[in-house]
Symmetry: C2
Subunit: 401 residues, 2 copies
């Protein structure tokens, strides 16, 4: 399918072409103002964001950071969407974190400043692509956690005569990326210090294991324990004469724990929220973590109703990520349970006394886990009430490594 | 990212542009002969198909069907890839099954004949898109399982003066789509028979619940039980005067059970295979189902090696579908276990005596479940040994509903 077919058929259902979109995508305006387009017009399954809730989430995080005297550099691994990154920058974000080189390229290509690659890369072509972004004068930064990364990056920076800022990535317990706190991190910094094209700007520490701990007190303990190791290493780096202006880390689950310590939060999920985050519990002791609103849903259609006790909707394993234990939660419809029904289908059953939807009915579901669910779609329909205000491209999906 | 950036940066890593691909995608040759491109050049994670194994799988299925006197219409929900569909047609397939309208559009748009939409659609725009394909003179067929579907399709066919062939979808136990066997299916056929633009060509029955039953004898029992209901209904339809030339159904797990009964197999996974299918056991009583070869892998890179007991590779929840209980299995590397390590990472540990890979090493993994894993990627690198022979676009990914 070419891009024209893609845009027109996806948005219009190939039925009545939307006047603004009856164009090759390259000629279409960047902000697709969809006059008159409503949720009822969308082909399903469709990924929707509720703009009122999304904007409220952004405001809550921005205000929290302002009050806490902490910056935020939201993580684009959640949305992979320059339209969202632009809104985050406009709300006061210092920049944008990315997890992959294609995410970095998409963000930089859309004019997003302050792009930080938080994940390690160790092959020359990917490193060259990051250096190329810096060479073009864009503000990009890399987190380094292993001597090989530093060696490859320094060599490419020398070869191209490009300066690049880096953070020392400290492994505070995830065991996934980064140098160990203390001497190993210092040793890495010393190695980097010898590379004339690289400049240490501070540290990164991410405690993924703390972000989803249930109960605020337990989460606080886990996050503070992890942070302490990074703080101590940062102090040692400062003593050794390194620039340690930046301490980047944290998550949506620990934003109000970490903001007193970090200089910037790498929060991702807060813009969308999901069922997986809602169960971790709030600061007030409430079982639902409700600091942010679930703004992201998948719109589905009931496509089969042969049986009295269940109906089929058209979003299954390919429509909702399946990594989290939670299942999709019907929005605005009481007493429905969703279960997976294969790649393209979900089965809905109703609790006693609750009503099953009919064939042709449309239902929205809060997603189990936002990041990998967004990764299944090509675009997000930004809605206000029933109206589709904009269509945002998920420009940096995983596949282009 | 535009398509040019996509193709060039994805294939060259933005490092050394491949001469054939330093072009806008629209001008690039359809078969991208990648002279000299090898697996080592690919950005990871990358989806690979081993052409020797893939071609062997296709040959095994084609020969089985020829010997059994049964047709096959492979399911494109597995690959969403016209390049693969073309090879299936060349191997003797009657046509191609699809699960979504975008899949139908991508296949028809690539000149694939005999496209059968196996899933129900109940909204007017999607039905109009299918009728539009038929209006252009392409051979498309729809499976109908509910009166509403038939009503909407008939109305659109009347409006556009287009004739469309349909199958009666019979629910033989999945409870997911289709009319119940016997009288409900007959009633649906009678309704369709009254629509002058629709023509019943036979039945569809899919027993998803039988496809992954462990052990050949148990699987045979499950599939035969389900098939019997469809066979009986097909006979009643024939008696009532309907054309019942086609009985379409079956799966990779039951191909050699169903081929004596069905007129055509809707087999999907056999071209790739996956860990999820390999555990169901073979006809010979062997615990591994080895009728087909695992041709599909994800190529990853070790990007962290801070700890002596584990390393991180760059494919996680966004690189391998997580719906199946199986985990990715390292190919050509003994004694490694993979566990999920977040969206972008997997953790590898080694059994006693086995060796862990080093940072920068590249490893291939057999995927847990092929269909939803393919759905995570944009393209498949078709390889022979270390050489990348072609790059196939996964043209009909789920997102464009």
């Amino acid at each position: 399918m070419n891009r024209r077919t893609f845009v027109t058929s996806a948005l219009s259902g190939g039925f009545t072409l939307h006047p603004l979109l009856n164009l090759p995508a390259a000629q279409a305006p960047k902000k697709l103002r969809n006059k008159g387009l409503t949720k009822a017009d969308l082909p399903t399954p469709a990924l929707l964001v509720d703009l009122d809730l999304f904007e409220a989430n952004l405001k809550i995080m921005a205000e929290h950071c302002r009050n806490a005297g902490c910056g935020f550099r939201p993580h684009a691994k959640t949305h992979k969407c320059p339209d969202i990154a632009r809104r985050q920058i406009a709300a006061g974000a210092l920049g944008i974190c990315v997890a992959t080189v294609p995410e970095a390229e998409a963000m930089v290509g859309s004019g997003i400043p302050g792009v930080l690659l938080t994940s390690p890369i160790v092959d020359k072509p990917k490193i060259a692509r990051m250096v190329e972004l810096a060479r073009k004068g864009r503000s990009v930064m890399l987190a380094l956690g292993h001597p090989l990364q530093a060696e490859l990056l320094a060599a490419e920076c020398d070869r191209r005569s490009v300066n690049v800022d880096v953070l020392i990535d400290i492994d505070v317990g995830d065991r996934r990326t980064g140098a160990l706190p203390g001497e190993p991190a210092l040793e890495l910094a010393r190695q980097i210090g010898k590379c004339r094209r690289l400049r240490v700007r501070g540290v990164q520490s991410y405690a993924g294991f703390a972000s989803h701990v249930s109960g605020f007190a337990a989460r606080e303990k886990a996050s503070r324990g992890a942070l302490a190791k990074a703080v101590e290493t940062r102090q040692r780096l400062a003593k050794a004469g390194f620039d340690t202006s930046i301490h980047s880390g944290g998550s949506t689950g620990t934003y109000n724990i970490d903001s007193g310590t970090l200089t910037e939060l790498q929060v991702g999920s807060f813009v969308f929220m999901d069922a997986n985050y809602r169960v971790i519990g709030g600061k007030n002791g409430h079982p639902v973590y409700s600091d942010f609103h679930p703004s992201l849903t998948v719109l589905t259609t009931v496509v089969n109703a042969t049986h009295p006790d269940l109906v089929s909707v058209d979003a299954g394993i390919k429509g909702f990520a399946t990594d989290a234990p939670q299942l999709p939660e019907a929005k605005s419809w009481e007493g429905l349970s969703y279960r997976r029904f294969g790649d393209e289908f979900g089965a809905l059953s109703a609790a006693p006394g609750a009503k099953l939807p009919k064939i042709g009915d449309r239902l929205e579901f809060i997603v189990p886990h936002c990041d990998p669910t967004v990764n299944l779609y090509e675009k997000i329909y930004a809605t206000r009430g029933e109206k589709v205000e904009e269509v945002w491209r998920i420009a940096a999906r995983r596949e282009t490594a």
